[in-house]
Symmetry: D2
Subunit: 348 residues, 4 copies
Amino acid sequence: MPIPTIRIAILGASGYTGTELLRLLLCHPAAEIRALTAERQAGKPMAEIFPQLAPFKLPDTVKIAAVDWSEIDFVFCALPHGTTQEVIAGLPAAVRVVDLSADFRLSDPAVYAEWYGGPHRAVALQRTAVYGLTEHARPAIRAARLVANPGCYPTASMLPLIPLLKAGQIDPGSLIIDAKSGVSGAGRDAKQANLFCEISEGMAAYGVGRHRHMPEMEQELALAAGGPVSLSFTPHLIPMNRGELITTYVRLINGATVDGLRDTLTAAYRDEPFLSVVPAGVAPQTRHVRGSNRLHIGVFADHRPGHAIVISVLDNLVKGASGQAVQNMNVMLGLPETMGLEQVALFP
Amino acid sequence: MPIPTIRIAILGASGYTGTELLRLLLCHPAAEIRALTAERQAGKPMAEIFPQLAPFKLPDTVKIAAVDWSEIDFVFCALPHGTTQEVIAGLPAAVRVVDLSADFRLSDPAVYAEWYGGPHRAVALQRTAVYGLTEHARPAIRAARLVANPGCYPTASMLPLIPLLKAGQIDPGSLIIDAKSGVSGAGRDAKQANLFCEISEGMAAYGVGRHRHMPEMEQELALAAGGPVSLSFTPHLIPMNRGELITTYVRLINGATVDGLRDTLTAAYRDEPFLSVVPAGVAPQTRHVRGSNRLHIGVFADHRPGHAIVISVLDNLVKGASGQAVQNMNVMLGLPETMGLEQVALFP
Amino acid sequence: MPIPTIRIAILGASGYTGTELLRLLLCHPAAEIRALTAERQAGKPMAEIFPQLAPFKLPDTVKIAAVDWSEIDFVFCALPHGTTQEVIAGLPAAVRVVDLSADFRLSDPAVYAEWYGGPHRAVALQRTAVYGLTEHARPAIRAARLVANPGCYPTASMLPLIPLLKAGQIDPGSLIIDAKSGVSGAGRDAKQANLFCEISEGMAAYGVGRHRHMPEMEQELALAAGGPVSLSFTPHLIPMNRGELITTYVRLINGATVDGLRDTLTAAYRDEPFLSVVPAGVAPQTRHVRGSNRLHIGVFADHRPGHAIVISVLDNLVKGASGQAVQNMNVMLGLPETMGLEQVALFP
Amino acid sequence: MPIPTIRIAILGASGYTGTELLRLLLCHPAAEIRALTAERQAGKPMAEIFPQLAPFKLPDTVKIAAVDWSEIDFVFCALPHGTTQEVIAGLPAAVRVVDLSADFRLSDPAVYAEWYGGPHRAVALQRTAVYGLTEHARPAIRAARLVANPGCYPTASMLPLIPLLKAGQIDPGSLIIDAKSGVSGAGRDAKQANLFCEISEGMAAYGVGRHRHMPEMEQELALAAGGPVSLSFTPHLIPMNRGELITTYVRLINGATVDGLRDTLTAAYRDEPFLSVVPAGVAPQTRHVRGSNRLHIGVFADHRPGHAIVISVLDNLVKGASGQAVQNMNVMLGLPETMGLEQVALFP
């Protein structure tokens, strides 16, 4: 089969998810980078914004308004939450889009308004968006014009939970998700709180009890559970660049066992190229997925009878963002799903 | 009041808790370091084992058998679990001891045998040992000859939980303790798993469902709760030297509220020199206690109604080990409790 | 001798050198913190700016204009270069000052103008300032009203070089100073280049061939050499918080040997409380001085005959900034020079 | 052109260079991994030794004695110095070899004996080995059966220096090489000195004046200079995994200028796929080559007239070891030189 040429624009190419898209797409046989936007740095060569890209031929950055859409087949939108919705609403109908922001992840406008402080400004478009947790939405993604790429925490948390909820093995009323993440998820904006000296050699929780990834998880997990779920979600910032580890405490129901949970996950993901269930007794480590599009899952007995602990790890910039975005593009375009995503994890 | 001179021996001075004891005791006005032991490196000057101690006059290391006990008033024992019990059993009755190992923490010989793979070899001595969680055991510590210094995880986990259990505000049947620790707690032995390249830029859980600090917590929390507790404890290794953060998920009972929990802790610890409850909405950070003997606690509403999240942080080598050990010595000897422990946290 | 009470103001208390002054002064028996300034955050409690200071009673921050100078005996000025000179020129004559900025380090107004892009605005005051490299300027410091605290790189570089130049053992025409520093020297301002993700897991040189610490070193080393020196100075940014390591390549003259260099330094600094020459064959490490006011020096044979390599390490926030500032205060006020500066290095 | 299948054995697959070879070769279209050896862990699946390799089908490790050489076309030898020479001497003549150890890098047996403490045990074989600094030895590499892969420091140091020496622009009698490296170069053996707590938040020089990479550089640079060179080489250990930065201080001769040096390097490496000369004023950073096979060079004016500073960066595990090894294999086999080596640097 001849490999087609996909002419790609990345909106918001000066952030970490933007450059990570470039890292992946530069090795993707079908991708041709045609436009890169960066509003505040328009006109700059990418080699100045990201010197590691200097060896590659890339277009200079432009403002979104300057993109020639007749040359673009596919858009990755890596813009901030809030400004994204109007930008995507203004794109020509012919381009297909994976959006990495939160703007199109929530299907209920009321929930959006509650968590984002005001009404959505592209509600009609929002209704057409497909929530792109790839392994669980392939048919809809294939048909979609606009895919809302899941957040890193929801991806890491929900991939293990969805099969278990569907199997009726865990209590949807008691999901305690303790999440730990490297710092790259916080973005590239100059903030004192993210300085090296403020982050290294220390850790802390943040957004306790009110993180915006919660409604996204409640929405999708309810679909899997066939009814509302009750969850607790606490993210922590860890002094490392990439990697996310989720420790989920679940209550077993319907006679489920720890081994039964592992079996369910193993069966559900047996043929998935990017998901692995690690053997019993092995603890998944973020360093084993660094730079790769993989997610590893481990299942453990809890010291409390009738409970289990599920641990999942991914690289927040790859499977948690840009990697899953490329995976979604591959599905949308009928390309092999692993195309451009076969990197081995970088260790050490 | 004239300051007395306490002649001190540190057994196991070549590890991280040993050198941390030295860091603290070298600034302690009553402490005189008389003997340092290191079995495998006996005869070496401390300046070779820890070059940062070169500027200080310290005795060369010797084997334990070579210590002249007539010159020693007080012993800190920082030896490995298992070998400790016989060493302490062989000490002259006149020296008082703080033991930093796990050997004397469990009061029930059967529980010890279950978790440590065999019977205790100094059961009579074990019966006399006082569990030294300083803030909750001062009278017993004052009178003790042998104090079992608590583990770092139990110290960080239990200081917030004990007042809440005593007040009947949280369910003793549902304590989920998600712990994160820097690497210094793993000790100074040459192990591949603790190499810089194996640890940096990554994280993982370990000992899931079966960490040896669990029985210690069950024992002490049951005393506070007035009955058995059920707990889940999962430690994670984080790429940093010092610092431990505990996220505990609790169920509110007897009409308790999140503010009520914070009030209980604030009242309980109002006069404590080393414990603080941070204001509502503030997340405790390990970097704010680095190098100090302090523990900070925050209380948060859980997204699940009727639940709360309690976060506590300490430096595992100070309040989690050597600092609390010095604090216990101060109590045992009737010295001001903060003597030698007034360091301000090192930040950044 | 009764300990006097020194009423202290810290101007610019919200940066890293400001808080480091507080860490040291809170343990200094003579220091009483009376005023803390922070122009942009005036009115904020220090507990908000630096939560690790929450346990201590400290005045809220004010603007400089709001300080009641009748209550202040001594000022530490930790303000940015350029704005400092006018602030200090406006202080009452009765307060004595240690200035941590570069504003008063260069004695020649022409050199200042060349490197700082314009004429000095307090030239008369500049003429009275004493360059405070403590170990080499005690009499002048004792008498000074205004001491210009040396930069971190000059302190680390010049303490080993001055005795060697004075002894005529090394060629003043060929000093190659390769410097490596942790990130805290770059300050607490929110800059993209200093984000955790931009700094960790990487290193780079900066200011190659034109760093502002060069004229300061040329000025002081020329005094030691009795004539002009020619130096190369290249700083590198290393992914760590604290610590500076200087590798200096020198040419031996007048029959000098490597051992002779070590002897000169050992003799020069034998009675210095904060300086050590490490034994032959031992490599000084920054981690052995972290958090302490110490500087360690090693001398090595170069593979090129007739040359030597001198390595020196310090903590850039302590001996390279706030520690040396407190040391200078002690000298100015006739206090024991080590008062408040006896911390043992924090390791690990 | 059809891609051939190269049947590959990696001897010493349990170390960092071994696993890095696997990371690269698993994405190399011509490579087929047929045998992996690990003497002490023979029989273990790679998934246990390196869990990040679990998703890939790889042979279990065996002892070298158990390899079926009839199935192997090409060998990468990543064994320790000293044991390597006999192993390679025992290989069948038909397999071609890239050796990553130091055993075959020195062409003069006397120099080998001086630096490695005894005579070489495969002198005849040593005579046939080609020193594989790819960009400067392609014809010989193409024809070689055995290529000695250069050390990481020599690769990073010599690639900038060789063209400058050949051009007669720098003084071969005065090369001062100040090297900084991440820790992965120290290997995966369990050593106390390489523990996370011993390495993080600190730096130090090591092997000052006597590092084994010196004779290798003297040998190769003398060839470029057409006569003996005199060099000083001082490596430093930096708290990061990957990355090496070399700061070289050179004296300009024959009227050379800084711009002239940059022009020489730009011209020499214009068509090289993996080498870049960065624009004037830009400082090369290790993070821009992390995980890639690239080397970046910058040239700067020294503050001392008549001197220049050359800075080069690479990833010690890729261009400094396994990447250059694969590049050499490509040359030896007539494959496109960049095959399997087109990864974009991983940042952040």
